[in-house]
């Protein structure tokens, strides 16, 4: 009897052992995310209900910080700037990336690797580096002004970063430059999962490149488009390096982003951690809402 039972018993214990091994494998990573991400998130919320400077934080009116936010002109400006970047820059970048990816997916194209590498190259430069490169290019005595003067378009250097509208445009140009190739790689990867024969069949059926793009590429890439849209939204809401290093938030806070303002309120001036935490919690809520909306919209078109 014991001989019959033996293997079953061993198998059970083996299964349990594998189960426990699985937990052991994933515990370090899970714990670290819990401690370094979820726990601070809860603390940020608790902090956002407290007011006071530096470490003299106290619970008073729990909504004081949230009310203050909407009366704070600089914060409202940073919210407006962030959404301006989101509404203008993200669609331009994603559409451009999609067009470039479908061009590079063409089997007959020569020098494909060269084009792909060149367009992806900006992503290899650090955020601080490219912000400073663009700051220098668009400086009063920078390269762009030199070219415009030599072409006779301008008489003296134009202070691109000193005027609100042009400073915003420079930031948008810089962002598109830095991130288009990054998104393009995702689309190229997605396109590789689509059978190329679909495109050949469309060609034989006499579909124009436009039709192929809208009827085949876009619908089949929808999951990837959704992924990049969510990533870009998330990234745009957290823009920091560009605001700080390209325009220093100026002129007169015309280009400051939410993260930059939160940084200033926490680490540049006398820290108001409670208020800064409230603003950062708003970013979290915005990220969550926008991701939810994008997923809903993404689902509907199925």
């Amino acid at each position: 009897m014991s001989q019959v039972k033996e293997p079953k018993k061993r198998k059970m214990s083996l299964e349990r052992r594998h189960n426990l091994t699985g937990w052991a494998f994933l515990t370090p990573a899970t714990l670290m995310i819990a401690v370094m991400s979820f726990w601070p998130m809860i603390q940020a919320f608790i902090l956002s209900l407290q007011t006071g400077k530096a470490n003299n934080l106290k619970f008073g009116d729990p909504l004081a910080n949230y009310v203050r936010m909407f009366r704070d002109n600089v914060f409202m400006a940073s919210l407006g700037n962030t959404f301006l970047y989101l509404i203008i820059q993200v669609p331009i970048m994603l559409i451009l990336a999609l067009i470039l990816a479908s061009m590079l997916n063409n089997k007959d194209l020569r020098c494909k690797g060269l084009f792909r590498t060149a367009i992806f190259l900006p992503c290899a430069t650090s955020l601080v580096s490219y912000a400073i490169i663009f700051r220098s290019l668009f400086g009063v005595d920078g390269f762009i002004n030199t070219v415009l003067i030599n072409l006779g378009i301008l008489n003296t250097g134009y202070n691109f970063l000193g005027h609100a509208t042009s400073a915003k445009i420079v930031i948008i140009i810089a962002l598109v430059w830095r991130w288009t190739g990054y998104n393009m790689v995702f689309y190229l990867s997605g396109l590789q999962n689509i059978e190329y024969s679909v495109y050949e069949a469309a060609k034989i059926d006499g579909a124009s490149p436009m039709q192929t793009f809208f009827k085949i590429t876009v619908p089949l890439l929808k999951p990837t488009i959704l992924l990049t849209a969510i990533m870009s939204t998330n990234g745009t809401l957290q823009l920091f390096d560009e605001s700080l290093n390209l325009t220093k938030g100026g002129p007169a806070n015309a280009t400051i982003t939410m993260s930059h303002y939160i940084y200033n309120m926490s680490f540049k001036y006398v820290p108001t951690f409670g208020y800064a935490a409230a603003m950062s919690f708003l970013i979290f809520i915005l990220v969550a809402i926008l991701a939810f909306v994008q997923m809903k919209v993404g689902d509907k078109r199925d």
Partner: protein, 270 residues
């Protein structure tokens, strides 16, 4: 010319222009690093002779060597730890998956939505009360384990054949040996992609090191470069040389691992 031919020519023109625009700022940086500031302002587009002067000037005003070493130290330690810990977890989530583990994974994925700026202040307070400001641990801890990397490795573990695991078990390998001897060598391209992404993020990270590192001897390259623009007069030649040094490691890694990077991303998007 037929319509198809015109389209083709148009395509080459568009791709060439976009490629030139993509490369130009980096070319300009490279050229500017070898020119005097005045010449940069005059619009120099060819290599100059001021590289060594710029180099001397840069060394005399900021501790580039220290910052380089610091950046490498933080990025390498972080990348190794992140790869080991996240791939173990991704493997664990996929190979031993059951309802409980799947539930934990979906909670972790929610972590992707947590913006760093929201956790930054509590993390700063946490590390500062633990007296860990200006330490390597504080720089790397928050980004060692990320839902993105775990997901990437879980996705690639999905294509890891179960037969191999069974065969290895019969051969008497234990579970951790199977992971190190079977899984890691098979998943080279995923590891290469994960390495590229993690190293680049670690090297380029700016906000968190700026918050947590307050002593100059602990500064990273991006911090050093950003500080160079603080003065009233900008020496473009020196500045661009610093930017070049700051960009070089990630650009080199990118070129070395470009192919496996693309393969790894393809695996993750599937």
């Amino acid at each position: 010319m037929t319509k198809a031919k015109i389209m083709k020519v148009l395509m080459y023109i568009v791709l060439t222009i976009v490629s030139l625009i993509s490369v130009f700022p980096l070319y300009w940086m490279l050229i500017s690093a070898t020119n005097k500031s005045v010449d940069v302002s005059r619009g120099a587009l060819l290599p100059g002779t001021a590289l060594i002067d710029n180099w001397k000037s840069l060394l005399s005003q900021s501790p580039v060597g220290t910052a380089m070493i610091n950046s490498f130290k933080y990025a390498i330690i972080l990348t190794i730890l992140a790869l080991v810990i996240c791939s173990l977890a991704g493997y664990g989530f996929e190979i031993y998956h059951d309802k409980g583990k799947d539930a934990v994974m979906s909670i972790l994925l929610l972590g992707m939505m947590v913006p760093f700026v929201a956790t930054m202040i509590p993390l700063f307070r946490m590390f500062s009360s633990a007296k860990l400001l200006n330490t390597t641990i504080a720089v790397i801890m928050p980004t060692i384990s990320t839902p993105f990397l775990i997901m990437m490795f879980r996705q690639s573990a999905r294509s890891f054949p179960h037969d191999i695991i069974e065969a290895a078990r019969i051969d008497g390998l234990n579970e951790i040996q199977i992971f190190f001897r079977m899984f890691i060598p098979t998943m080279k391209s995923t590891y290469a992609a994960a390495m590229t992404i993690t190293f680049m993020n670690a090297w380029n990270n700016y906000l968190w090191p700026k918050v947590i590192l307050q002593k100059e001897e602990t500064f990273t390259m991006p911090m050093l470069v950003a500080n160079l623009t603080e003065g009233y007069v900008t020496d473009y030649g020196v500045l661009m040389l610093a930017v070049l040094l700051c960009s070089l490691p990630t650009v080199i890694i990118f070129f070395l691992l470009q192919k496996s990077f693309a393969e790894g991303i393809t695996g993750a998007v599937k």
